[in-house]
Amino acid sequence: MTENQKPATEPSSLPGGLIPPEQWKLPETSVRRTVKGGIRHLLDQLRAGISVEDEPFQSLDDLPVLSASQRHRFAPEPDFAAVANTILEQLTSDHSGNSAVGTVRLIVAPPFSGIREALARLPVVSGKESEQSGWRVVAPPDELLMDDASARQWWDRQDLEEPWVIPELADFWLRHTSGLALVRELLRRLSAGAAGQGIVGCSSWCWQFWRGYCPDLHVSPRCPAPLDAEHLGCWLEALSHQSGRKPVIARMTNDGLYVLPLEDDRAGKKLKRSTFLRDLASTSRGIHGVALAIWQRALRARPEEEADQESDTVVEGSSRLPQCWVAPLEQLSFPVMPQSNGRELGFVLHALLLHDGLNETSLELVTGLSNDGIAHVLSRLMRADIVSRADPAGHWHVTALGYLTVRRHLQSWGFPVDGF
């Protein structure tokens, strides 16, 4: 890699780091885009019906999407071990200014932020690179329905003397009268300072529930900073040259303006920049996984020879770098919520977000819907690309691309939504 191919500063795997939730704010966008989004959402709600054929995600342009290998090359999944390292470093530096020993740190993050995946890798990272003793993952029991006494006994059996980590608190409870005991007992121990040294990852939806359930709980959570245009650009650029690969050049398919690289001039020529990153940051609500999913959808493979021939020395100077094209957000269609008169869709989707994924049996328990009803709802949502069943435990999850419409619909249906 030549010197001019390296980014000016080493990009962070977690741009912006961890911040108090009070400092979190939605990435800004233009008024035009906000109004457009609002009208589109209203029209989605007003649509009388939707045919089954229209439900799945479709690209509205006819440019070829990237192959799986190209997508993996240009927009790969982040290195969660590096994220875990960054989290550990930041928490350690925060902790060094705190005289309290044996504190438990809470990280609240919107879905698809990658915090669960990162924290799950913490034992490996801390074993290799940290001076501290290794962190141990506390896994939830198979049976979450238990009374208070059983929950106390279960936590007593866990070794909380050594540093421990819970990648996702949502795995430890069910929204059922018998499903609250484990988290309630953990929070009681946190308040009493009797939980040793630990890190708890918590989905923002789960946290929204427990904050209401325990209004007197005093903890100071941290959350990943939202990706604004600048952070998003750094992050995407860093992803593209992860593992020592060459950074990618990405240009808009409609006007040829540059999305990546981030530097304003190249080979002595000023680059005209697109506002795509700002729009993407705002559209994805600054959430890493959502932004990446949209970015992967927006990337196009077709090289436009005419454009290259007409282009200036900038391209000549960077001809050795891989190049891809980016479809404007307006040309992408996102998953559309199926129309329904009942509330079943909302119950299922809210439960999935609250628990960061559930199987049918648990869904039946927390929503009160029948097995058949849940099967029908899941089938419709799956056809619309809004939920998928990807993990080996057979849990259903909201998809990263479907998350935005799910959140907006749940909000307009009156459901409690997270603060992110």
């Binding site: 209203l42 709600q45 007003l46 009388a48 929204r175 059922h176 009268t177 499903g179 609250l180 929204q208 529930f209 209401g212 359930y213 509330r343 909302g346 119950f347 809210h350 439960a351 927390v366 929503t367 009160g368 909000q411 307009s412 249906w413 009156g414 459901f415 409690p416």
Partner: protein, 266 residues
Amino acid sequence: MGDLGLKDAFATVTSEALLQALLVILIASALVFAIQKALPKLAGKVGGKPRLYLLAMVPLLRLLIIIATIIIVVPILIEPSFENMVAIFGALGLAVGFALKDYANSLIAGIVTLYEMPYRPGDWIEVDGKYGEVRYIGSRTAEIVTPDDSVVIIPHSTLWNSLISNGNDGTDNLMCVAEFYLEPNHDVRRVLSLLRDVAFTSPMTRTWMPVTVVVSNQPWGMKYRVKAYPNEPKEQFHFVTDLTARGAGVLAAEGVGFVSAPVAGD
């Protein structure tokens, strides 16, 4: 001035002016009709606050259209001089005072309703023992739809001398109460905690709103009231049903029985 000056005021009215005025009134009526039909229909398709906003726009838009129509029509028919205005409003005052007193009373109350907003479309109100959702606010009356799908027409003049109870008052936060009548001699704190969990674990509960459980001692046992907010006001009956069913299950598992009161027949 035996004719209150009306003859002079309308002396300049021509058939062409009359036609113009009629056309304006017809257009305004069609517009009002379209708004009254279309907006509630649209509101039925969206949930939450957009629904309330759409419903609330109906009477407001109608009032604006009526005012605009008057402003347009009066100059078409007569010269809007001080004398002419006095003549017309004087004649109107007489007619209203003698013949249409009650009607005018309701019309004026209707205007006050738009200003003071004791109820808006989408509100759940109780007037004279009738409970339901305000679906329509007309010039003279408001229509509420009861939970049993009956339409009750309430003249706005009721506003002057009746108590109006408004459950959500223009918002989408409506508190619901599920009541449990339990046998005495049980662990009250345990039951309070269980019923609170029942409310928090209902998928219809707005967990960011307060959830409270209160208890009072009665001669026959204990009366518990679980107070919580459903996701949407229109879900209130399903919500109370859900709380009651879940609560009954939890209390049965805990071994706390319900009070069975003997009923005396006629």
